[in-house]
């Protein structure tokens, strides 16, 4: 193994057993206070049949073993704190630590959702201010913070469309989804009870107004469109697209996964969108945490407002109150009021930037993506010539001639110390490399990334095998995912 590659030098990490393997009877890492009430005999109080024997094979480890275990595991991971994380559509921007600090404020972190409203005014105020800011950013009349994640926001949005159309007399049958869409879009439409019809994108990777017009009829409830779309291009016909749908009484739903390209520049509500969701863990910097928690705020135009999930915030005099009396509401989509701790972080992010700062962040995101595109275009085939917004999408068609695919390039990129871009998505691009740097990357990091990508392109010319068998520098070499799926082993057993 070479001692260095680009900016990478290997460092020591340790093997680590699973908790169950390091466990031994009697070891413990906790200390409870002395019980200040009489002990209760569980079998007598609950009936012997309701009381379990010990939890078989549950860990028994000491405190120092716990901290070492998880610290060692953490060193096998990669995160934004370690470097560029250019996953397209995922918006892996820096997660400011002030957000973490304020979410742990005593009166917020320990607020019980059923404590009296007069003792919850601070939490309710935070939610109200966030709803207002998001409404302003979206160009929408009302916002719900209840959905727990992006896909959950989509689901909420499509249920709103259904409830609105049903109130008009006909919920309709179909939802149109472009072939470039995230997989969650068709999955959402399907679990919300709609048939999915796929729309073929045009040669620019955009929704084709003619194809759309031919598909829209009285059976169509909505189009689910991502804008900028998944090839990182602004749907230039969006106003016309909205017109085509509205003319036939259909709604336009926007997947706000790529809202980071628009904040302060353009507002979905102004270009015709009826309902959208925004992933607060993308655009508004709350941490991804290895796959959640997120939050999926949904914004709507006035005509959809009566259908929003209960409860809604209501101002009564000087006080905030929860309003449950919403007869047209679709109902609850989640217990309580949403992922409040995530909402706190998103508001802190908005406050740090302020209105002008949010717009500057958007422009920086566009500049960083276009800079990467400009530097890599000579070495990789850009998927579409249309102007890139916050991300750029290449195809592996040049590298494929050497037998190297996008997935291989991604693994080699790990050797250079970068998390891979999004691999093989969108599906309309042959072997896609979808790259989104976000605004928080300094030029030095962008250059190091581009240098690595260019070095890999050259390696593919000289020695494709090197790339096809990557990664070589990591403690874990290429993982056998096929066997994992063929003989699933999803828990530890003795």
């Amino acid at each position: 193994m070479p001692k260095s590659l680009g900016k990478i030098r290997p460092h020591l990490t340790q093997d680590e057993q699973l908790l169950f393997e390091m466990s031994s009877p009697g070891k413990k890492g906790y200390q409870l206070p002395e019980l200040d009430v009489p002990a209760v005999d569980a079998a007598a109080a609950l009936g012997a049949g309701n009381v379990r024997a010990g939890i078989e094979d549950f860990p028994e480890v000491s405190e120092v073993e716990v901290i070492r275990h998880f610290t060692r595991l953490s060193t096998w991971n990669y995160g934004i704190d370690l470097g560029l994380f250019p996953l397209g559509s995922c918006t892996m921007k820096y997660n400011p630590r002030i957000n973490e600090a304020v979410a742990r404020t005593e009166g917020l972190a320990w607020a019980h959702p059923y404590q009296p409203e007069e003792l919850s005014q601070g939490a309710m105020e935070i939610a109200a201010v966030l709803e207002q800011h998001l409404g302003e950013i979206f160009g929408m009349d009302a916002v719900t913070l209840q959905p727990a994640a992006g896909a959950h926001g989509e689901y909420t949005g499509i249920m709103l469309v259904r409830a609105y159309l049903a109130a008009q007399g006909n919920p309709r049958k179909k939802v149109l989804v472009p072939d470039s869409a995230h997989g969650t879009n068709p999955a959402t439409a399907s679990i919300a009870g709609y048939e999915v019809e796929t729309l073929k994108s045009n040669e620019q990777g955009m929704v084709d107004p003619a194809v759309l017009a031919a598909a829209v009829n009285e059976d169509v409830a909505a189009l689910m469109v991502t804008n900028p779309n998944t090839v990182g291009v602004f749907e230039e016909n969006i106003v016309q697209i909205a017109g085509i749908l509205h003319e036939k009484g259909a709604q336009i739903y926007m997947d706000g996964a790529n809202l980071n390209a628009l904040v302060g520049l353009a507002r979905p509500g102004d270009f015709g969108v009826d309902v959208l969701h925004s992933n607060l863990h993308k655009t508004f910097s709350t941490p991804h945490g290895g796959g959640g928690p997120g939050a999926g705020a949904v914004g709507v135009k006035k005509h959809l407002e009566p259908f929003l999930p209960v409860p809604r915030l209501k101002r009564i005099g000087e006080m905030w109150s929860w309003d449950y009396d919403r007869p047209q509401s679709i109902g609850r989509v989640r217990a309580f009021y949403g992922n409040f701790g995530v909402l706190v972080r998103a508001l802190a992010y908005m406050q740090a930037h302020g209105g002008p700062g949010l717009k500057n962040a958007t422009i920086d995101a566009l500049l960083n993506a276009n800079y990467i595109r400009a530097r890599l275009e000579e070495h990789y085939q850009i998927a579409y010539n249309a102007k890139s917004m916050h991300e750029c999408v290449f195809s592996d068609e040049r590298q494929e001639k050497q037998g190297v695919r996008t997935g291989d390039i991604a693994k080699r990129l790990i050797d250079y110390g970068f998390h891979p871009y999004t691999v093989s998505f969108p599906m309309i691009v042959h072997g896609a490399l979808m790259i989104e740097p976000t605004e928080t990357e300094p030029k030095q990091e962008l250059d190091a990334f581009c240098d690595a990508m260019i070095a890999i392109a050259k390696e593919i010319e000289a020695n494709p095998e090197l790339v096809k068998t990557a990664p070589h520098m990591t403690r874990t070499s290429r993982v056998d995912e096929v066997t994992a799926a063929r003989k699933p082993r999803v828990r530890w057993t003795r």
Partner: protein
């Protein structure tokens, strides 16, 4: 950078957008604040909430001590700022911890497969119903009336939009357990699953084996729900269930005004391919070392699109990690001792109070204040900086004179005594 892009100005980055789409004014959001000002703002808002109160609220959100290590681990940037572990070679930390999480959830629930977590307990319920429907092709669901009311509302919302028919069955007014006759009367060969919470919303422990036996007679599945995970340290696991869903908030996740939490979804091995959400599996790397990766992803939306088992594309990884650290710190002995302390506190509190239900309870129970309403009793307690129980009339008109009380290891004897006095 603009030169490298062949652009003259920053406006060139976006002036190709249609004019009708461009915002022609600044956002109406105040100018940026310093870190100090942001911290101060949230401190002020926090101060407007309850501070320094003892609380006896449970009902799906519980106050338990959070071992310091939980925050220490989840604050590590390698966990906090990583993504869903698609690139296994670069995410073994997250993947290994999820594998441990899945294993511990199996050990706790008596199931054979647990996924990497769900959004929360409430949203896991309709996911379980849809899973049951995929298993037996039926679309009628029976939910207990003593299932958490907000969980029932979430299920009802989902049902309205899908091909799902949800019916509720009652509870026994004496025991607080489900009314078996009411269930049996509705059970037939069209029922996909029966959904029962234990301990239920009233805190009463259900006889899940009896429910499973009745369901089985008609080929229906049993979905067992829990909201208080600490109970699993002491209570017999819901082994009779086909699918177990629940809420992990009790495992070191702060109440945080209702979220973010983490849901659980566990089942038997034979139903593994019908489970929604992320699953981590064990495998080897090219050099033969043990390694972990996301697996069975052909169930999922990014591959199957409209034919996926669910539209879910995340779990609650960081929250699940917090719970994993919690389970590691307490371990086999500690979780039991913690549960025993909860049992002792709640039973001490209940002793001498008027309780409408006779069924066995863990750390929550329903009590009826003598000579006054729950609201009046709570108002008196608030003056002593105690938040009392949850009045039940909002969801159960027949119980409008009663409240749901919860006691955990966090409640001290003096406060327990104050509540007893206020209710007697």
């Amino acid at each position: 950078m603009l030169d490298a892009c062949g652009l003259n100005s920053l406006e060139d980055l976006y002036n190709h957008l249609p004019e009708a789409a461009l915002l022609d004014r600044p956002l109406e959001i105040p100018a940026g604040l310093s870190e100090f000002e942001i911290a101060d703002y949230f401190k002020q808002q926090g101060a407007r909430n309850a501070n320094g109160y003892a609380s006896f609220l449970g009902a799906g959100v519980y106050s338990h001590y959070r071992p310091v290590l939980c925050d220490v681990v989840v604050s590590r940037g390698e966990f906090l700022t990583s993504y869903t572990p698609y690139q296994a070679e670069f995410a073994q930390g997250t993947l290994t911890s999820i594998f441990e999480f899945q294993t511990m959830l199996c050990q706790l629930t008596g199931m054979e497969v647990a996924n990497a977590s769900m959004y929360d307990g409430s949203t896991a319920v309709p996911e379980a119903a849809m899973m049951s429907s995929r298993i037996n092709g039926r679309h009628r669901f029976l939910a207990a009336r003593n299932l958490h009311p907000e969980y029932r509302e979430v299920l009802a919302t989902a049902a309205r939009n899908a091909q799902m028919q949800v019916e509720e069955f009652g509870y026994d007014a004496k025991t607080g357990r489900i009314d078996m006759d009411s269930l049996v009367a509705k059970l037939d060969g069209t029922v996909s699953c029966v959904i029962v919470q234990s301990p239920n919303f009233f805190g009463v422990i259900e006889d899940l084996e009896a429910v499973a036996a009745e369901a089985k007679k008609h080929g229906a599945l049993l979905v067992a729900v829990f909201t208080e995970a600490v109970s699993l340290g002491l209570l017999e696991p819901p082994k009779a269930a086909d699918i177990v869903v629940g809420e992990l908030q009790s495992f070191a996740i702060s109440p945080s005004y209702g979220g973010p939490f983490a849901g659980v979804m566990a089942t038997k091995e034979k139903y593994m391919r019908q489970i929604p959400g992320r699953l981590v599996g064990e495998t080897k790397d090219h050099d033969g070392n043990r390694a972990f990766c996301l697996t069975l992803s052909t169930r999922e939306q990014h591959i199957r699109r409209e034919k996926a088992t669910s539209n879910i594309c995340t779990n609650q990884a960081l929250i699940a990690l917090m719970a994993t650290v919690f389970m590691s710190v307490y371990g086999k002995q500690g979780l039991r001792e913690l549960a025993e302390q909860n049992l002792a506190k709640a039973h001490y509190l209940a002793d001498g109070l008027e309780r409408p239900f006779s069924g066995p309870f863990f750390n929550e129970f329903v009590a009826t204040p003598k000579g006054g309403t729950p609201e009046a009793a709570n108002a008196g307690l608030l003056k002593k900086k105690i938040i009392g129980g949850l009045p039940l009339g909002r969801w159960y008109p027949e119980l409008k004179g009663s409240m749901l009380l919860c006691a955990t290891e966090m409640n001290q004897r003096a406060d327990l005594d104050a509540v007893k006095e206020a209710l007697r």
